[in-house]
Amino acid sequence: MQNYILPILVFSPIIFSIILMSPIISSEEKVIRRSTKTFSIIHFIYTAILLITFDYTNMGNVIESNLKIFNSDWIESIGLNASFSVDILSILLIGLASIIFLIAIFLSKNMIKHSYKLYYSLILIIQTAVLGILSAKDLFIFFLFWELELIPMYIILLKWGSGNKQKTARKFILYKFFGSMFILLGLLLLYILNFINTGTLSDDFYNIDISNIDNKIKYIIFLFFLIGFGIKLPIISLHSWLPDVHSQAETPISIILSAILLKVGAYGILRFNMQVLNDIFIIFAPLIMILGVINIIYGSICAINQKDIKRIIAYSSISAMGIFLIAIASLTEIGITGAIFQLISHAFISAGLFTIAGIIYIKCGTKNILRIKGLGEKMPILMFLSIPIMLAAVGVPLLSGFIAEFLSFIGAFTSQVECIIDVKILTSIALLSLIISCIYILKIYHSVFFGELNKRYNQIKDINIHQKIILIVLIVFVIYLGIFPFSITNILSEYSIINFNIIGGF
């Protein structure tokens, strides 16, 4: 039975999506939506049971599943297995993914107006892809699921978008393929080097042994992985697909993209750059720290200039991922805990921000904040519920954003990585992001809700119970993580000491 836990988790969405596309389920919107919601809830309960019964004291791989096809491994002669495994980092991100997909499917109620079957089945395929990436134990299974999510995203961007859909979708897929090319090169090099070093063909990346290889090749592999994953978690200069995609996609897709897919890129960096290649991470840590600081400052400054709500939130995601980068480059226990905590907390915060932006877009028909004014008159409850999410994005204590930023900054400041520009000066520059982030977040909040009501919005009604519950769920998560972070930081601090190469000090 142990053998089938993870494959059921990973493959059930795609099986359900095939059922959905077949004529078994009728083409009425209500039936499609309700059946997808039911499936999502069942899947979420399954994931929740896995999360609750997980053994959090075991720091290695806890659940391992080896999928045998007709009683043999996949391609045994070259060592490819279809094996899945989860450990603590993976299971936390899998739980996060399930919650976010559930919220996205619930939120699609009024936002999608045509081709429901195609839409829901594509979202389920993306869910399979994400769960597969997070639980892969095998180099090529990892790559298979990595590539699997590109085509559904492309189709969704083309069919349900606004604005210049074709150019944006084309830019998205070209950038992603460019990144996948580098990742494939890196994976192949790892596979071949493992073979040269140990003489056995195996692509289990937890057990790769490339210790006797010359360092120069390892540098090249590291850079390949950094570029490939850096397109996903946008590192500035590889990021220009992100603002366009976010501003033109529908809200549930923006939520999935920003809350899950960026984190999957971060997961890739954590696994490949930090665990597999951990002895040369120290050499590149200064570079990653400088990239992180550029991310933070450039992302925040770009966000101030924008006029489209979703673009502002997209740039704030870039900024948040910059905090992740400086935290992991610090190589301290507090820093790495803060980095992983930032992944989880930022997912909820950006989901909340995009939900609010989506509701405003549906009610007002425009995303330009210069034209929307004074909605506080008509939608006081939305204004009230958006306060915790706005404050969490800024980094106010007792909400989860503060814990993540606080731990990351302490970790980065007290790190012992040697850099050209001193680590302390870099962190001090990054601290300015606290001030700059509140400028643009307040700009959104005040332009939309404050002021005199624009006459054309006289007919708007307040948000319904459905959307209220989604926002309240997100707020509860944000507040819970802010007040009781020890439930996660306890586990993560032990995990980071054992699995990552911490150098000295705090």
């Binding site: 770009c302 509140c438 002021g451 000090g505």
Partner: protein
């Protein structure tokens, strides 16, 4: 007594629980009763009041008894974060003031907000403010203090943006938030530097380095270490945080923006409680501040006290004048702190809290009755509102330090300054008290006494009991400390200050009679435009806006440009290469045979020459 100590956290949880109850009733549109809201809020504050009174008796001044309880919040291997409660004389005295003022202002708000929209929202924010303030006063270590420090700032921002329909309120709220944020950022930077220093110099002892009770140990160790510069940097950054929160020069600008809040909030947050947090911080981190930094505190306190009083003499809006007056009085409290005398600072702060609240609450009644806050347009109010004039008079006498509680406080301050032999500071204190007396009595005469040109239209005539009771209570609290003063302590400085006060009153009366102020035109202009500091802030803001527009250019031409160039290169390249395929079969045949022969030739060459086979 043990009951109070063990259950002190109840005082924190009652407000937040009531806040949540009101929130659910608002969000899910369950109808709410205004009287019940008020009652629950008052009950929670009253419970807090009883707790703080009980603890005050328990702890007694001077601080001989300190009780601390901690729970582990986030354990890491190298650094543990705790949350707990620290009960000593400082925190209990601040707590008592907070509870009294909070209770009275919550009662007053019922009458003030009775006919306005957003009643429930107002009480949610008020309860939230209560909760965060109590959390701040009971905090045991720097991190917990920082958490509640920011939360109090958020509560103040939410209340400033209360009237969301108005455009100027929106801009002011944004500005207040950003300036507060700058201070918080400085405080956070100071805390992080402090953690870093402790890592280097304490070498893994098991003490919690951030706790206030451990700070004496830390100082002695750090003084013996050889790097005081980093230590001083941390101290200066934390002091900047305190300055921003307590509206000292040059960060006092947010206090005038904060006057867009409803008047009871100005009384509660921006004169009595939140702006005293800077003082609280300095008292708590007292052991780790070096003497140079105390000189900086003294300097900035003196500058603020004088300059803000100077600006306040020409202001015509009552609330703006009272805002600058608050800044100025806080400057005097910082002078007291800079002279190492904490008890004097606490006493002055307590009396100032009560005095300013009386003035603000009376201004609230004037605003409700006449809908106008301009001194030049009001006048002759004393005829119909004798008690209002009485309250204002009591407040003025106390603020100027001539009578009642203010007299006691000011005398203590002057005596302390005299004992440390700082002549310049003494002169500044006397000048400030002259200016304070001048502007507050000018406002009294211009508002309440008869004027030839007075355009006041009475809006409503009801004398709310709930608005008058708190002011009466506050008046008692102000009058009583005035009689503690003993006659044997009068010395010549005391007489000089009374004389200065009398001179200022005569000056104010003459200004009222002639209806203009007798200072040179240049100084008048400087003072009326608030030393042009708002213009400086606007200039800095526009400079930054222009600077940030650089990234638009970078985004558009560099990053998008890379995409466009890549696309164009690919298109050109494919254009060239596709010319090979010209549809002419003979060309294809020629190409294929040509390339095959080259491959074969190279294979033969490879075989014969490189492998050296004959």
């Amino acid at each position: 007594m043990e009951f109070f100590v063990n259950n002190i956290l109840l005082t924190m949880f009652f407000p937040i629980w009531i806040s949540l109850v009101i929130i659910t009733s608002v969000v899910f549109k369950i109808s709410s009763n205004r009287k019940m809201t008020l009652l629950f809020t008052l009950i929670s504050t009253f419970i807090g009041l009883i707790f703080s009174l009980g603890l005050f008796k328990y702890v007694r001044i001077p601080n001989t008894l300190i009780i601390e309880k901690n729970i582990l919040w986030m354990p890491f291997e190298s650094l543990n974060f705790y949350i707990g409660t620290l009960i000593d004389s400082t925190s209990t005295s601040f707590l008592m003031i907070l509870m009294i003022v909070s209770f009275l202002i919550q009662l007053y708000s019922y009458g003030y907000m009775k006919d306005k929209r957003g009643f429930s929202k107002y009480y949610i924010y008020l309860n939230f403010f209560n909760f965060s303030m109590i959390g701040l006063l009971l905090s045991t270590n720097l991190v917990q203090m920082y958490i509640f420090w920011e939360l109090v700032g958020i509560a103040s921002y939410l209340l400033i943006g209360f009237y969301y329909n108005r455009e100027d309120v929106s801009k002011s709220a944004q500005r207040v938030f950003i300036i507060n944020r700058i201070g918080d950022c400085a405080l956070l930077a100071g805390i992080i530097i402090f953690i870093y220093i402790s890592q280097i110099y304490l070498n893994q002892t098991n003490t919690d380095i951030l706790a206030f009770t451990n700070m004496d140990d830390i100082t002695s160790k750090m003084v013996l270490s050889a790097y005081p510069e980093i230590f001083n940097t941390a101290g200066i950054l934390m002091i900047i945080g305190a300055f921003v929160k307590s509206a000292q020069f040059p960060f006092h600008i947010w206090l005038t923006d904060a006057m867009k809040a409803p008047t009871p909030i100005s009384a509660l947050i921006h004169s009595a409680t939140m702006v005293c947090m800077g003082i609280f911080l300095i008292i708590r981190i007292y052991p780790i501040i070096s003497p140079e930094i105390f000189n900086i505190i003294l300097l900035f306190g003196a500058i603020t006290a004088f300059l803000c009083a100077f600006i306040a003499i020409t202001q015509t809006n009552i609330k703006k004048m009272l805002a600058y007056s608050t800044s100025s009085q806080l400057g005097l409290i910082f002078i007291a702190l800079g002279l190492y005398s904490i008890p004097v600072a606490i006493i002055y702060m307590i009396i100032h809290a009560f005095t300013k609240s009386i003035l603000f609450l009376s201004a609230g009644i004037i605003e409700k009755k006449y809908n106008n806050l301009n001194i030049n347009e009001l006048g002759n109010i004393r005829e119909n509102n004798f008690y209002l004039a009485l309250y204002w008079l009591i407040g003025s006498l106390s603020l100027s330090g001539l009578f009642f509680g203010g007299f006691t406080a000011k005398e203590l301050l002057i005596k302390t300054t005299h004992n440390t032999n700082c002549l310049s500071v003494l002169i500044i204190i006397l000048l400030t008290s002259y200016l304070s007396t001048f502007y507050i009595f000018k406002s009294y005469f211009l508002i309440f006494e008869e004027k030839s040109i007075s355009t006041n239209i009475k809006v409503n005539n009801n004398n709310e009991k709930s608005m008058n009771m708190p002011i009466i209570a506050l008046c008692f609290f102000v009058i009583i400390p005035g009689f503690i003063f003993k006659l044997s302590d009068i010395n010549y400085l005391c007489l000089i200050s009374i004389a200065i006060g009398g001179l200022a009153i005569i000056n104010a009366y003459s200004c009222y009679k002639c209806n203009k102020i007798f200072i040179p035109k240049l100084l008048y202009k400087l003072s009326y435009n608030e030393l042009y500091i708002p213009n400086v802030y606007n200039l800095i803001e526009s400079c930054f806006n222009k600077l940030f527009k650089i990234t638009i250019i970078i985004e558009k031409y560099i990053f998008e440009g890379v995409n466009i160039i890549a696309g164009k290169i690919t298109a050109k390249l494919s254009d060239y290469i596709s010319r090979i395929q010209n549809g002419n079969i003979q060309n294809y045949v020629a190409y294929s045979i040509f390339s095959t022969s080259i491959i074969l030739l190279s294979l033969i060459l490879f075989y014969f020459i490189i492998l050296e086979v004959n």
